[in-house]
């Protein structure tokens, strides 16, 4: 009883301490501060109420990221029916002036990362932002380490191309937006 309580307290504290990192990851996926807040909040809440299902406490972060990713996927599924034209424009970054004027800015890099295929984006953000090992990414996404490596490789190659291409009309951004409306 006391052990369980102490464990819960310890894990709760670790979640609180890493909240900003989770937020950063959620922000990199969604590009929206409020949505990122919601995702972190939902994931944290679910984690707090289901510590019993966490078998290895050292995997807390990977486990929480997995929950958060599921929250984000749920949100995307719910969102499909209500996606509107304004959002498509926002997602595709199809404002030529804005795109060209901020080609070397962090905003541009963020947009490029969000344009990546979801599988690639997840791996890149977990490795680069969360500083997860390949094994932790494998655990979070429930895929083999070999797949983590190949997705990371293809994802970075794709990101490199996107970053090199400052002309918005030449990117595949429109396709990305349309793909999500299906």
């Amino acid at each position: 009883m006391f052990k369980s309580k102490a464990r819960h307290k310890k894990l709760s504290r670790q979640l609180c301490e890493n909240r900003q990192r989770f937020y950063k990851l959620a922000y990199s996926w969604s590009g929206d501060g409020m949505l990122a807040d919601d995702l972190v909040q939902d994931a944290t809440q679910k984690a707090l109420t289901s510590f019993d299902s966490l078998k290895d406490d050292s995997k807390l972060q990977a486990w929480t990221c997995q929950i958060m990713l599921n929250c984000y996927r749920d949100w995307l599924r719910r969102r499909k029916d209500t996606l509107d034209v304004d959002d498509l424009n926002l997602l595709s970054g199809s404002d030529p002036l804005g795109e060209l004027s901020s080609a070397d800015s962090t905003q541009f890099v963020r947009r490029c990362i969000r344009k990546l295929n979801e599988n690639h984006r997840n791996v890149i953000t977990l490795v680069d932002l969360m500083e997860f090992s390949y094994e932790e990414v494998s655990l979070t996404l429930d895929i083999p380490v070999g797949t983590v490596m190949s997705r990371l490789c293809r994802g970075r190659a794709q990101l490199k191309l996107l970053l090199a291409d400052t002309e918005p009309s030449q990117t595949s951004s429109t396709n990305y937006g349309l793909r999500r409306v299906k």
Binding site: K5, R19, K24, Y27, D37, Q41, L129, Y134, K160, L163
Partner: protein, 241 residues
């Protein structure tokens, strides 16, 4: 990737370069690759480009808006608590500033009294009216953060959670997840209390046949509404949970 052996005769793959910059290869492979870099400018360039890409990604999210700055519009439960934290912080600062500005004229004992009063004035009433467990868990989470922040700043705060209407069910044994959280918070914070409205409990018994068994940490009060009004009259800050 860790533990794999790299064959120096084969061209270095992108996977290996990624693993190198991500520190996911063994020291032996790392040293081998480093020795190759010295002799192969193309390889060095590829690694530099990949490293640069990684740094660009990290840099792009190094400075993003803080999570707490967004709470105001994120959820119904959070904005009020976030606003309360802000109000209290400003209030305390103003109070402290006022005390210091009058330091020349006020006697020391009055200064310490003023400071004590200023701190004691931080009293919060969180009013629960809905039986939505998810919203309640969010509220408890926000509540914990508020209490932790005050504890961290060594400031005094008193918080009372008052439930009436359907919300009294949240403070009963019928909501295990919430019961666990309430037990944890109550054992950790002496300055937190929970109260449930007797009128609402009686009404539920009569109209719906529901028997509400309150948690041991929850005290029974005659009327939640009267309690809310009285607390507000006494200067407590009201937050709708």
């Amino acid at each position: 990737m860790k533990g794999s052996q790299h064959n120096p005769d084969k061209p270095v793959s992108d996977e290996l370069i990624n693993a190198f910059i991500d520190h996911q290869i063994t020291n032996e492979d790392r040293l081998e690759l480093l020795s190759q870099i010295k002799q192969d400018d193309t390889l060095a360039k590829r690694i530099c480009e990949m490293k640069q890409l990684k740094e660009l990604t990290r840099h792009a999210f190094a400075d993003i808006p803080a999570a707490h700055a967004r709470f105001e519009q994120a959820r119904p439960a959070f904005p009020r608590l976030a606003a309360a934290i802000a109000i209290f912080s400003v209030g305390l600062l103003l109070g402290i500033a006022g005390i210091y500005s009058n330091q020349q004229t006020l006697p020391t004992n009055l200064l310490s009294s003023a400071s004590a009063i200023q701190q004691a004035q931080t009293r919060v009433l969180i009013h629960l009216t809905s039986a939505d467990p998810e919203a309640a868990l969010n509220t408890l989470q926000s509540l914990q953060q508020l209490l932790e922040q005050y504890r961290h700043n060594q400031q005094q705060v008193m918080v009372e959670v008052v439930a009436n209407g359907d919300a009294v069910r949240l403070l009963s044994s019928s909501s295990p997840a919430i019961a666990v959280r309430i037990a944890e918070l109550s054992s950790e914070f002496d300055n937190l209390s929970f109260a449930a409205c007797k009128n609402s409990i009686d009404q539920m018994k009569v109209t719906r046949g529901l028997i509400i068994e309150l948690l041991p940490q929850v005290k029974l009060i005659d009327s939640g509404v009267v309690q809310v009004i009285q607390r507000q009259r006494d200067g407590w800050t009201y937050i709708r949970g």
